[in-house]
Chain length 206, copies 2
């Protein structure tokens, strides 16, 4: 089961004949060579269609990138939100669930996560705002958990307003080195980073 056939697939069939194939091809191309390094001809070839036909689906290369990033950030946000809601009231448990969901998405969709980090700067205007908003919502969930954990005394970090950024940076960076065939399984990675997050929050006995 590769990263494009997860239980929660990032790119679904839409009813339009080639849309999913184009998005998948674009994700691979942007992940391989970067937004400016990949050409629409590359995308068309990988999608098994013609160059001009891409424009029957997406009005421009930028819109193609925007749609990919929108899908990725929305799915990641949804996963974190669902996991936290199901985790009960304890800040420690909620943080554990949030990190596990976040890292789980990164592992399931390594390429999409990498593209979302490194190519977002090539978006402009409304497209960028939407993606940033989804990312901020995800970050907001973490910040709420931290705030409640600080209030309850579970987290003793002296920098509650800043530590979330470090947690998310650390977890997002997994996409730059993760190897599906490597030493660490998905579960091990999630557990490990949950522990890292709680250590950063100075949650006491782990």
């Amino acid at each position: 089961m590769n990263e494009r056939s997860s239980v929660f697939p990032l790119i679904r069939e839409t009813g339009r004949k080639n849309e999913a194939a184009i998005l998948t091809a674009a994700l691979d191309a942007f992940g391989e060579n970067g937004f400016n390094g990949a050409s629409m001809r590359d995308v068309a070839t990988a999608a098994g269609t013609s160059l001009s036909n891409l424009y029957n689906y997406f009005p421009s290369k930028s819109h193609l990138l925007a749609e990919l990033l929108r899908l990725a950030n929305d799915e990641q946000l949804a996963r974190v939100r669902t996991a936290v809601e199901a985790a009960g009231a304890s800040p420690v448990a909620r943080m554990h669930a949030a990190v596990t969901a976040f890292v789980g998405f990164v592992v399931d969709h390594t390429t999409a996560s990498r593209v979302a980090i490194s190519e977002i700067r090539y978006l402009s205007g409304v497209n960028r705002k939407e993606v940033v908003a989804a990312r901020d919502s995800t970050q907001g969930i973490f910040e709420e958990i931290v705030a409640s954990g600080v209030r309850s005394g579970d987290f003793r970090t002296p920098y509650p307003e800043d530590v979330v950024r470090s947690i998310l940076s650390m977890c997002a960076a997994i996409s730059t080195w993760y190897d599906p065939g490597g030493r660490l399984s998905k579960d091990a990675l999630c557990d490990r980073h949950a522990r890292y997050a709680l250590a950063l929050l100075e949650a006491g006995r782990l």
Copy 2:
């Protein structure tokens, strides 16, 4: 004092009339638009010279990027090495010094750090190997400190082989959001991240 006039400048005059200006212009251009998004014409204009003259200094656009990344990684490695050597024998003090030096470089050379992270993939062959080697050396310093701290009992992390990657990811990511006019000063950032690193290592009472 901006990031190009640090006490340890990244780009020094070399005796060749325009070399420093070209490197500085290239760093800005690659930082602004990415390697593939910036053109040699952009670099020439910003350096105040002609397009064809660039090729009297660097044989190709790739070599230009390679030289920039080489300068950045070498300087960062030198800073960390020097700081750790001066820090005495205590693993806690050595780690504090290493993180402070690492983060100090990121803050002093935000653009170079960002470019080094996100554009290294456009290097190939020998150029890439050199840069990766310098980066691995830096990481090796951190790993040695962790190993000795685990032996001495100062660090109680159960994952000593993995936690360094998280520390460096977290610190390198500063380059993606740091604002020189923002709330956090360079010193505050260094202290904060040194504490984060020790927390990740589960160093006990901070």
